[in-house]
């Protein structure tokens, strides 16, 4: 169960469709497995046009999108990430344990990037690199 790291790069086209087509960052590990992610770093590479996302935050989820940010695995403000007009590197913080997701670590689910409400950004031409430290836990 050693920790591993993968780099996943998203194109502008991936980001523009991130709401309707959530991007799989880590595929499901198989029956009776959980994905543990102690570190998820996003490197946003600004192009020439920032993305516009109304109020929907970027979220990283296992399984089903919850009704609010508090119910999702990880989230960050779009205005503090892909809505910027500059490069930024940051780490996703985890959910509040005061209001954890209904099923915080569902079994055999992929880690996906999407937006709250599945809204697609408009405009924008930057890219993003994810550096994810993770391990597969076998139950």
């Amino acid at each position: 169960m050693s920790l591993k790291r993968i780099k996943v790069s998203l194109t502008s086209n991936d980001i523009l469709n991130i709401g309707s087509s959530p991007f799989i960052l880590i595929p499901a590990g198989g029956p009776n497995t959980l994905i543990d992610t102690p570190s998820i770093i996003m490197k946003y590479n600004f192009g020439t046009i920032p993305y516009q996302v109304s109020t929907a935050n970027l979220i990283l989820i296992f399984g089903v999108v919850q009704a609010s940010d508090a119910g999702n695995q990880y989230s960050t403000s779009s205005n503090s990430s892909i809505g910027l007009s500059s490069n930024k590197i940051f780490k996703f913080s985890g959910p509040s344990l005061n209001a954890p997701p209904v099923n915080m670590m569902p079994i055999n689910q992929a880690l996906r990037l999407t937006t709250l409400g599945n809204e697609n950004p408009i405009n924008g031409n930057g890219t993003a690199d994810f550096y994810i430290t993770y391990r597969i836990l076998h139950l």
Binding site: L3, K4, R5, I41, K43, K88, F90, K91, Y131, T133
Partner: protein, 154 residues
């Protein structure tokens, strides 16, 4: 900027990055802050982890703080924080929860929320300990920081 002293570098677990199982190297480091260092931790931050080199970045996975109370608690400016040098967005913050206490305690803070527009992570940059706004005005305890991190090749 002060250099940290009195620490150990412990080889981490896991296999070499790129090894047969794709594991990464995890480093563990203990840094002890003296009372004199804490009392000047705003004006003279302490370097905890040196810059890793061009094209690389430190991934600070976990930070545990152990406060060793002595006889006088620290007052004012007691938000002990970890930053990449030059960044204004903290990685971890002991929000008035560690050096202002009247007893010894250990706390592992959650990852700080990366709000705002400024980068939280910086390439080829050391990680420092600092208290924000100003130096503490008094206090004589010490702090041990237990850091777990890896190096990312960007």
């Amino acid at each position: 900027m002060q250099q940290s002293g009195g620490f150990n570098i412990v080889p981490g677990f896991s296999s070499n990055e790129g090894g047969s199982d794709g594991g990464i190297i995890i480093y563990e480091k203990k840094v002890s802050l003296s009372s004199a260092q804490i009392l000047t931790l705003n004006s003279n931050p302490v370097v905890l982890i040196d810059a890793p080199g061009s094209g690389k970045m430190i991934d600070l996975i976990s930070a545990v703080g152990q406060y060793n109370f002595n006889t006088v608690t620290y007052t004012t400016n007691t938000n002990l924080s970890l930053f990449f040098e030059g960044s204004t967005v903290a990685l971890f913050v002991w929000n008035n929860s560690l050096i202002n206490q009247t007893f010894s305690r250990g706390i592992k803070p959650p990852i700080a929320f990366p709000s705002g527009t400024n980068p939280q992570y910086l390439q080829n940059t050391p990680i420092i300990a600092q208290v924000v706004n100003g130096n503490p005005t008094e206090g004589d305890g010490t702090v041990d920081l237990f850091l777990t991190y890896s190096i990312i090749e960007l």
